[in-house]
């Protein structure tokens, strides 16, 4: 291997990249812009659920009950309906996601010490949202009921309010959140987005960069030159890895300073692991680019191959521990999951290589394998 030839290929590639102003700008802009909009937009919190109410009781107690929904930041009041049937078209049009229906005699029954059922209609198209909506409704109902029950028990047993509260709620649950004390979605998402962006942007740049040469035919210059396969690949990939190596720092800064994610681990370890991940995703891009003939195909294949596994199996939206047995196996086949563990470990848990070495090992295997396959696939005399 000749270092000068590698440098020549790299500088040719770099110059080509720099001359295409828009390509250069996009290479740096894409990761930043994505981090920005995804960081603000990919929130899994379920808030501002638009809802409407049907109050058949129209009593002081029912208004008190409904007021709790209006007070909650989880719900967004859209209006009062006079009839349950009016809710159906609103739900169908996605104008509201839930409807609360208070039955007649709501106040009468409760004051008489009898239970009463409040019906909630929930739009079930998005199961995560409907499940959490149900949870919120139950929480409000429980809080409301507890107060009524405490007052009721105090009255019939002739004890003080505090004693009645103890009787009704004998067990307190003390919840403590570890690693993310305020349970901020941004703390979960922002570090994972570093993974997501690094899984998507580097292979895209690489795949397009390599196929571009193939499609334009300028690769024949390389085929006929003295540059060896390895020299060409190293020189060709170097600028893209360099761009991504710079982007890692930007993404890290955005995660920490813009989205306020804590970084408790070792920065150097994180950087090394991120670089390793960039090698893997660059390798993915390389392999795609060697298998296809057009940039169109390269772009589509890279995007689909990167987006789906990282969103669904990379631990970005769905924690890998929550996957079913078969899908868990699939998740372990993609490198994204291992890097997410490293990201969450270094950002939130403050653990380092002593805990995360298996992940690093797997990533090393992936990087070696992908780059070797890329090397093996690249022929200077293609059978075309």
């Amino acid at each position: 291997m000749n270092v000068r030839r590698v440098a020549a290929v790299a500088s040719k590639e770099w110059r080509e990249t720099v001359r295409d102003r828009m390509f250069l700008a996009l290479a740096f802009l894409i990761p930043m812009l994505w981090m920005l909009v995804f960081g603000y937009g990919m929130v899994l919190d379920v808030e501002n659920i638009p809802y409407a109410v049907v109050d058949r009781d129209q009593s002081a107690l029912s208004r008190d009950y409904l007021y709790r929904f209006q007070q909650s930041r989880y719900f967004d009041f859209q209006g009062t309906l006079s009839d349950e049937r009016e809710a159906a078209p609103l739900l169908a049009a996605s104008r509201i996601r839930a409807a609360i229906i208070i039955p007649e005699k709501f106040q009468e029954r409760l004051l008489a010490g009898q239970p009463v059922g409040v019906q909630t209609l929930v739009d079930g198209t998005f199961p995560l949202r409907s499940d959490i909506t149900k949870g919120y409704v139950i929480a409000i109902n429980t809080a409301f009921s507890t107060e009524l029950v405490v007052a009721h028990v105090a009255r019939i047993k002739g004890v003080t309010h505090d004693r009645a509260r103890e009787l009704v709620q004998p067990i307190k649950l003390e919840v403590r959140y570890l690693y993310n004390q305020e349970v901020k979605s941004a703390w979960t998402i922002a570090p994972a987005l570093v993974m997501f962006v690094l899984a998507l942007a580097p292979p895209l740049l690489t795949a397009l960069g390599v196929v571009r040469e193939k499609e334009r035919g300028s690769i024949y210059n390389i085929y006929s030159s003295t540059v060896s396969r390895l020299e060409f690949l190293i020189g060709k990939l170097a600028p893209y890895v360099a761009i991504s190596a710079f982007n890692i720092v930007i993404l890290w800064l955005m995660a920490v300073y813009l989205f306020g994610a804590p970084f408790k681990g070792n920065g150097l370890f994180f950087y090394a692991a991120a670089l390793l991940f960039v090698f893997i995703t660059t390798g993915q891009g390389l392999i795609v680019s060697l298998l296809v003939a057009t940039q169109q195909a390269a772009a589509i294949i890279t995007v689909v191959l990167s987006i789906v596994p990282t969103i669904l199996y990379g631990g970005l939206l769905v924690p890998v521990s929550a996957l079913g047995p078969e899908t868990k196996v699939i998740a372990h086949l993609f490198p994204a999951m291992y890097f997410t563990n490293i990201v969450h470990g270094t950002f939130l848990k403050g653990v380092g290589i002593e805990v995360l070495w298996p992940e690093v090992l797997v990533l090393l295997v992936y990087a070696t394998a992908l780059l070797s396959i890329g090397y093996w696939l690249f022929r200077k005399r293609p059978a075309l």
Binding site: M22, L33, W34, V37, F38, G41, V43, L44, A92, S94, Q114, P115, G117, L121, V122, D123, G124, P127, L128, R129, D131, I132, K134, I138, S145, V149, E166, L167, I171, L173, E174, V175, R176, L178, N180, Q181, V183, W187, T188, L204, L205, L208, G209, E215, T294, Q295, Q296, A297, I300, I301, V304, I307, V308, I311, L317, V318, P319, S321, G324, V355
Partner: protein, 389 residues
Amino acid sequence: MTDRTPTPILQSVWWRRLFVMVAKELRQLFRDAALIGFFFWAFIMDVYLAGSGTSMQLVNAGLVVHDADQTISSRELIHRFHPPYFRFDGLVDHPAAGLRRLDFGKDVVFLDIPSRFHEVLLEGGTTAVQMQIAATHSPQGLSAASYGARIVGEFGLDVSTRALGSSINGDLSLPVVRSDHRVWYNPNQDESWFMSISEVLTITTIFAVLLPAAALVRERERGTVEQLLVSPLSPFQIMFPKVVAMTLVILAGTAMSLFGILHGIFDVPMKGSLFLYFAMTTLYVFTMAGLGLVAATIASNQTQVSLMTILVVAPMINLSGTWTPPEAMPVWLRELMLLSPLHHFVNISYGIQLKGTGLDILWPSVLSMAALGGALFGFGLWRFRRQFA
């Protein structure tokens, strides 16, 4: 030519040109073996993978317990943390051992039940149970806490009703508000429905914006557009067949995943009109093609056009309500997303498939999408004309 008996639709020159150009585009597309192979992977395998087994709700959260009491009450409480939400991973002798399992990511929830738990409850006193939750994944952490609170609260209420009931001679009714839910459109909360539909939308979007855009720029980059420009074809006749060809291909892909995977494997219902669904998909593909077209006229080569469209499309895919609930986004982003055709298509798509709604209800979304499509297509065509005419 050999077509002695042309079908009526091919009689006019305009139509015949359109037909020939569409055929050319399709032939060009099908020669890209890698792309076609991948087309099947995306519309079939990807949709299948997305729909099978992934779940955003709290499922299977590992639970480890330190039970210092070891009585009927404590065991009953542990028993109430049941699947599918929680997965009981056993007892630990010491709280530190439980926390270590959280550190290593083996479990998500650690429950600590104090000694004399049973005794205190019998005496009518109060006690506290500790729940430590690994909140590295915050929605899961919150869900675990809310389920935990529900379980412990119900358990407490049961204990106290038993105690109170025996002291007031049974038949105790309490003034509680019972939650009575009815989940519409997906009563069993089958997540494969949501996930597979979302995935079809994602794949459709990627193909719809990238296929026509790249096809257009490639022609320019290779110089073959000059050949087309000296032909009697108008700019519209050059561009429109590309969009038509790509639309046909994408509709075929949608049909594959709709009948093969969504209906065939996941039993996703098609409550509304199938025809309307395909008509709306066509409108959506046209709209996205318009976006690709605009990008194609701005970019000077294929690399740029690919990067530019992906720059715009990735946020669209992730923020239009396909993967995360859009209501929780900041207001400025929510309003920005009204510009995303996918945002409207998500409403239309779920509306037709799961809710069975028709145009009478969906018309605002359809109108917005059509307006966006018209604007994008018109602008793209105008720029294309200016560049070549």
